[in-house]
Amino acid sequence: MRSKGRISHDGKIRFARGEALLAPHLPHLPHLPMLQVLVPLLMAPFVLLLHPRGLAWAAATAASLMAFAIAVVLALTVVGDAPLTYQVGRWPAPYGIELRVDDFSALLLLVITGASSVTLLGGWQSLARALPSARQPYYFSAWLLALTGFVGIAVSADAFNIFVFMEVSSLASYVLIAGGPDRRALSAVFKYLIMGTVGATFYLVGIGLVYMMTGTLNLADMAVRISDVADTRPVLLAAGFITVGLALKAAIFPLHIWLPNAYAYAPHIATAFLAACATKVALYVLLRFDFVVLQHSASEHAVQFAGYLMPLAVLGILVGSGVAIFERDLKRLLAFSSVAQIGYMLLGASLVTIAGLNAAILHMFNHALAKGGLFLVVAAFCTVAASSQLEQIGGIARKMPWTFAAFVVCGLSLIGVPGTAGFLSKWYLVTAALDYGALGIALVGVILVSSLMAVVYIWRVVESACFAGEFGDDADSDSETAAVPPLLFIAVWIVALANLYFGLASALPIELAASAANLLMGNAP
């Protein structure tokens, strides 16, 4: 990555124009935003018909990898450059549906497709074990549909289209979670379904009210037209509905109650995928809407955003971390940690400064790396342990030292130790908070205290994995390769190394996040 970047005089790392680099080889470049959605979308029905063992998985993985490749090209194309737009059906923008890939969506696309590819790649044995083979085509089809939904949201520039793809992703996510072996997965999914649908419907009401007042659904058009009606009651109400609805989907404290059980009882691999991107997509829409559409027209909007959401973010950080410390199940522990981490992102956004947004967006990327990796390791642990209870994995580090080492790396990234990706977003967040005046110092205190709490809960796991339990005391690594499927092992280490790589050479995500933050605050990139 670095070789492509060059450092301009103002100290920012800029990329060579990707399009110029890639265009001669890629005739379909203008269609890429569309293909990003179409590849998983059209592969999903195919996968449903692939019954021979393993074929559905292979096809799904191939589609996901292809989507990842497209996301990489898109990211390199838009970084530090104008966004790509695409008129579906060639109908002009406010009338037809427009797709739009800018730095923010490019970053999110990388996260989504990357998470899907790595987890699918590593997840074959784990999923094959959890699901009877007759049900596998359905599952992998649902997986691709979830992927379709997520990327569909990320590339869309149309409020209602986002709703449609939100529903695609939600329904598919319910299926992914319901595949869990424990019956508690079912009750968890039902709760998720109810809360998720309520959230989506709130969003629908919100955009309905905005549509009523502006007559348009295109986000950019909406942002312009809303200034005439900015402080009318329906718009205020719409802001409320949209924020609450998306907060439900993003599991923002205290609307997170669906999340811990849903993550805990889903198949391990699906948890890794969803934990890496599901809530972030909702947060993405929230930021888009609140900043691009509402921010500049509704007076006092910044104050409201900060005033209502910042306390929630702080509470979420503290409560999430606090509960995680006392949690006995590894997956639930990590799920509560996710609640706290979403709090970080929200906290950055609620500062309503470029630096704060930059931190929030960068943390979306880095948290996906850390949490995705941790859940993948859990999946690896569970190939030998009976469950993800902390007692059950006691001493597992002696059985699989290398897998465990990956856990430590990702855990350190989650804590925010320097040299790992997580450190960079914490750094930005603290810097942004320090710019915020007296309250900022208190926020720094919160961030630091919760980092310590993260140390505590990660170290509880490390201690029990190293020193407790009854796994045999053989440090013989041959048993590890026998126990952990090789693909999963590779996937785990890809993510762990990515945590280290992006801790040192993070030019691409930082550049994307910085221009995304500028974009949201209304400055041209």
């Binding site: 379909h28 269609h31 569309m34 179409l38 979308l41 059209l42 999903a44 029905p45 195919f46 449903l48 018909l49 695409y86 008129q87 579906v88 059906g89 060639r90 109908w91 406010p94 009338y95 037809g96 549906i97 007759a134 049900r135 359905y138 599952y139 089809s141 649902a142 549909l145 379709t148 569909g152 149309d158 209602f160 289209n161 449609v164 793809f165 529903e167 695609v168 329904l171 598919a172 319910y174 299926v175 319901a178 595949g179 009210l209 549509y211 009523m212 007042m213 502006t214 007559g215 348009t216 037209r225 009606v229 009318t232 009651r233 329906p234 205020l236 109400l237």
Partner: protein, 331 residues
């Protein structure tokens, strides 16, 4: 006059809604829900939304009711009795709900009034849609034009939602075929209403007409209200009726599970393929005008094909879901 009638319908709807929440008998609630759907459909009709009214009637009152009833047959028809006390939590919930309702009503006073021609909804995009439907697509039904062409991508998403639901239900419940022991003799349950002569005869007489209606709605969508969703739902309803009359097993032998799966996937793929053809022919995804020499003609072809895709998928999914539910009952 129509406004007053509309208000009467809506008042009735509100009362029905409250009754739905209040009753402890789930069967009654489902039936009331069907009535509510019909009332909403009637209101939609008064509000000039013929397409939506048709859909709400077919899906809200029809398919949805069948599914709820199927679920009730497998679970229980009554909510469990519990000591009814006005606890603080239920008072709180009631209070919150009331306050939110009042806030929403408070907000309405800044809204454009019903039917106001100066409302942004009417003023901003609508004239373009009406005009372009005439000039660029040349079909009478503007709803179909917007649905299938101007916002065809939304519709693709919608088909994918339906497909996802089908995949999800089949994943959760298994396909009807696999959960039943092969070659089991037809049980009393499984035989449908075969022993009841009059409903059977009447039903058999009805089915061809329903099917015909379905196909009419499918292919007439460009001219009048209707289209793939409604047609798919109606065709599914006829198959479901057949299954109710003749038994699950026979319905499955007419359209086997494999075919249903192929319908689910094939319809979605057809829609996608039409869109991709746009790319291949040098334009954007879902641009139908390149499908033929004459752009307007191309739009016709595109709309026809994707509506077929929608209809096939919707019918396939709904029938599959019905079979999955029904298979539970007989298993």
């Amino acid at each position: 006059m129509t406004t007053l009638f509309g208000i009467f319908l809506l008042t009735l709807l509100m009362i029905t809604g409250m009754a739905i929440v209040h009753t402890r008998n789930l069967f009654v609630a489902v039936m009331l829900m069907g009535i509510a759907s019909l009332l909403i459909a009637a209101s939609f009709f008064l509000l000039d939304a013929a397409d939506v009214a048709l859909t709400e009637a077919a899906i809200g009152a029809g398919i949805s009711t069948v599914l709820f009833l199927g679920a009730l047959a497998l679970t229980s028809e009554r909510e469990r009795k519990r000591r009814r006390s006005l606890s603080t939590s239920s008072l709180l919930q009631f209070g919150i709900v009331g306050v939110v309702a009042l806030i929403v009503i408070w907000a309405t006073f800044d809204q454009p009034r019903l039917g106001s021609p100066s409302a942004p909804v009417q003023a901003h995009l609508t004239p373009w849609y009406i005009e372009s439907t005439r000039d660029l697509i040349d079909i009478p039904n503007a709803v179909t034009a917007v649905l299938a062409s101007f916002r065809g991508y939304d519709t693709l998403g919608e088909v994918v939602v339906v497909f996802t639901a089908g995949v999800g239900v089949l994943f959760l419940l298994g396909t009807g075929a696999s959960s039943r022991a092969a070659g089991a003799p037809l049980s009393e349950d499984n035989a449908g209403l075969r022993h009841y002569l009059i409903p059977r005869i009447l039903g058999r007489l009805l089915i061809p007409f329903i099917l015909l209606l379905g196909f009419y709605v499918q292919f007439h969508g460009e001219y009048g209200p209707g289209g793939g969703f409604q047609a798919g739902a109606i065709i599914a309803a006829s198959v479901i009726l057949y299954a109710l009359l003749e038994g699950e097993q026979r319905a499955l032998s007419v359209i086997p599970q494999g075919v249903l799966l192929a319908m689910m996937a094939g319809g979605t793929l057809l829609f996608g393929a039409v869109g991709v053809a746009g790319i291949v022919l040098g334009s954007n995804f879902l641009d139908y005008s390149v499908l033929s020499e004459d752009p307007v003609n191309g739009q016709h072809w595109g709309i026809l094909l994707i509506e077929m895709g929608i209809g096939i998928t919707v019918a396939g999914v709904l029938i599959s879901i019905f079979h999955a539910f029904a298979a539970r009952a007989t298993a």
